[in-house]
């Protein structure tokens, strides 16, 4: 058998493992095995590629693989669960830049290209570049190295349109004569980096779940384009699987916010133009002791976590509180909004880290119908996803977004750092409702106080 046949047969096997692995990722019980299968598929694909006749020198390959492995292992071990959105963003970015380099190096190795190959190289470079810089801007926003607020300036749409026209023109000129077009390629590379920055800066922190999913999809599409460049089936299969999964997640996130993708990408949501109707009334503060009294008397408690819980690193103390409540004969549920936190499923990961059984985690649609029978709803660091203005105030920017109807519970306790507006700068009438009490202060400290009260 010749090596090319062996390689291709093994690629089929790897593709099979990727597909099986993704299928098994669909259920918590089999997910870990699914990930393992997928990684075995990757390992076999890498090993069999190394026997290819095209590869004659291993020195540089080993350097790159060794370096990448060390950095990869260190990153995966050291990162804390609360920083997972940043980690995913960075990994997306690396995938993107790798596709860009592959496209670029493929051109340098063989500049005599036909139109189709030149087009695939351009796509690989363009999407790879956008994914790279876009992911790093997303990382900077998540890490709060730069402001999480949308960055808008006058004429932004015009500037963006000019950039896009520029990249199209440079691409067409390159594709017409790839052999003489190195300087056009430089322009495409530069502009793709610029485009990645421009696309992500007008997006607010609360919309990050959409951006992360979208960049995830891009990294897949970039790999897919690199597959066309290299004429490699497995790259195309794996890349499009990832591309499709990212698009589905993006779509789920948009639906959860009742907004279209273009609205998320271009509207600069939450930049402060409209904050909805002004609210009359007074927020009623509560202290830890009184909160404890209410919780002690409750027979059903529903916890609604948000990004604030991640910031305060309060997930472990929240689990302790849930255990104390259960010992007290109380039923505890966690209600998780699809866009709570900074990436899809962010809250689930944190609660899983804190050992909250996933049987206790409920989706918004399962919790809302029974909300009226809940004695106490504890909102921990969530704001927009529990804002009743989404149902009641047509002037509110988030009007129409599906929210967890915490205000329908008997009592709502909101744990919050201060009385300011949330990330999107939108007024939240929940804080002024008759059945709402505000437990102000650091969420972790407050919950620790409650746990201590229960233990006494």
């Amino acid at each position: 058998m010749n090596t090319s046949l062996i390689i291709n047969l093994t690629y089929i096997f790897s593709a099979f493992l990727f597909i099986l692995g993704l299928k098994k990722l669909g259920s918590p019980a089999t997910a870990r095995k699914g990930n393992l299968l997928s990684s075995v598929g990757m390992l076999t694909a890498i090993l069999v590629t190394l026997i290819s006749k095209d590869i004659v020198s291993f020195k540089w390959i080993m350097l790159g693989m060794g370096l990448g492995t060390i950095i990869g292992i260190a990153g995966a071990r050291l990162i804390s669960m609360t920083s997972m959105p940043e980690m995913v963003a960075v990994l997306n970015g690396f995938g993107g830049i790798a596709s860009l380099f592959v496209g670029w190096a493929a051109y340098l190795g063989n500049p005599q290209l036909n139109t189709f190959s030149a087009t695939t190289i351009i796509i690989s470079i363009l999407i790879g570049g956008i994914t790279f810089t876009g992911s790093f801007i997303a990382w900077a926003k998540l890490k709060e190295v730069m402001t999480g607020k949308p960055i808008m300036f006058p004429g932004q749409q015009v500037v963006n349109s000019l950039i896009i026209l520029g990249v199209i023109a440079a691409s067409v000129l390159f594709i017409r004569d790839p052999n003489a077009g190195l300087h056009f390629l430089w322009i495409v590379i530069g502009v793709s980096f610029l485009l990645g920055v421009m696309v992500v800066i007008p997006i607010g922190g609360a919309d990050m779940p959409v951006v992360i999913s979208l960049l995830n999809s891009y990294s897949g599409i970039a790999a897919c384009a690199a597959g066309f460049v290299m004429q490699n089936n497995l790259l195309i299969v794996a890349g499009s699987l990832v591309g499709a999964s990212g698009i589905i997640l993006t779509n789920i996130m948009c639906k959860a916010m009742n907004r279209s993708l273009s609205n998320v990408l271009f509207s600069g949501f939450g930049s402060g133009s409209s904050a909805g109707s002004e609210i009359e009334g007074e927020a009623k503060p509560i202290n830890v002791e009184d909160t404890f009294m209410i919780l002690e008397a409750a027979s059903t408690v529903c916890v609604v976590p948000g990004y604030g819980m991640a910031v305060a690193q309060a997930q472990h103390t929240v689990r302790e509180l849930a255990e104390q409540l259960e010992e007290n004969g109380c039923e505890v549920k966690f209600a998780i909004h699809p866009v709570a936190g900074r990436m899809p499923g962010h809250m689930n990961v944190l609660l899983a880290e804190a050992n909250v059984p996933y049987e206790q985690l409920f989706e918004m649609d399962d919790v809302n119908p029974i909300m009226e029978s809940v004695d106490v709803c504890m909102v921990i660091g969530a704001n927009d996803v529990v804002n009743p203005a989404a149902r009641e105030d047509e002037k509110s920017p988030i009007y129409g977004m599906p929210v967890i109807n915490v205000d329908k519970a008997q009592t709502v306790i909101v744990l919050k750092r201060s009385l300011g507006t949330g990330f999107a700068g939108i007024q939240n009438p929940l804080f002024f409702k008759d059945n709402t009490r505000m437990l102000l202060g650091d969420a972790k400290g407050s919950v620790q106080g409650l746990v201590a009260e229960f233990k006494n």
């Binding site: 990722l25 870990r32 291993f58 997640l249 499923g345």
Partner: protein
């Protein structure tokens, strides 16, 4: 690249996209983060392309540097992605029954 190859590759692309949609649409929201980091690791498959380019004959200068950089970044993507996903899924798993 001849037309037959293009059509053949496009065929594969089309079928994989549909397969991807079918596979992912059923994943519960609890697993969205591991799904994302896991599929992210798969997108590091670009590594295969990077390996072929870097190891091929007569590579020097810029092309070689780009190749090595591509191998490194893709490898970080693959190794980091799978490990971090495994770390997350381990937490999802271990609490059935015992704490």
């Amino acid at each position: 690249m001849d037309t037959t190859t293009i059509i053949y590759l496009t065929f594969i692309l089309l079928l994989s996209i549909f397969l991807g949609f079918e596979l992912i649409a059923k994943v519960p929201s609890t697993l969205h983060t591991p799904l994302m980091s896991g599929s992210n690791a798969i997108s590091g498959i670009t590594l295969l392309g990077a390996l072929t380019l870097t190891g091929s004959e007569g590579n020097d200068g810029l092309a070689l540097i780009l190749g090595v950089a591509a191998v490194t970044f893709a490898m970080i993507n693959v190794v980091g992605g799978y490990l971090v996903t495994d770390r997350m899924l381990e937490m999802f798993k271990k609490k059935e029954g015992s704490k």
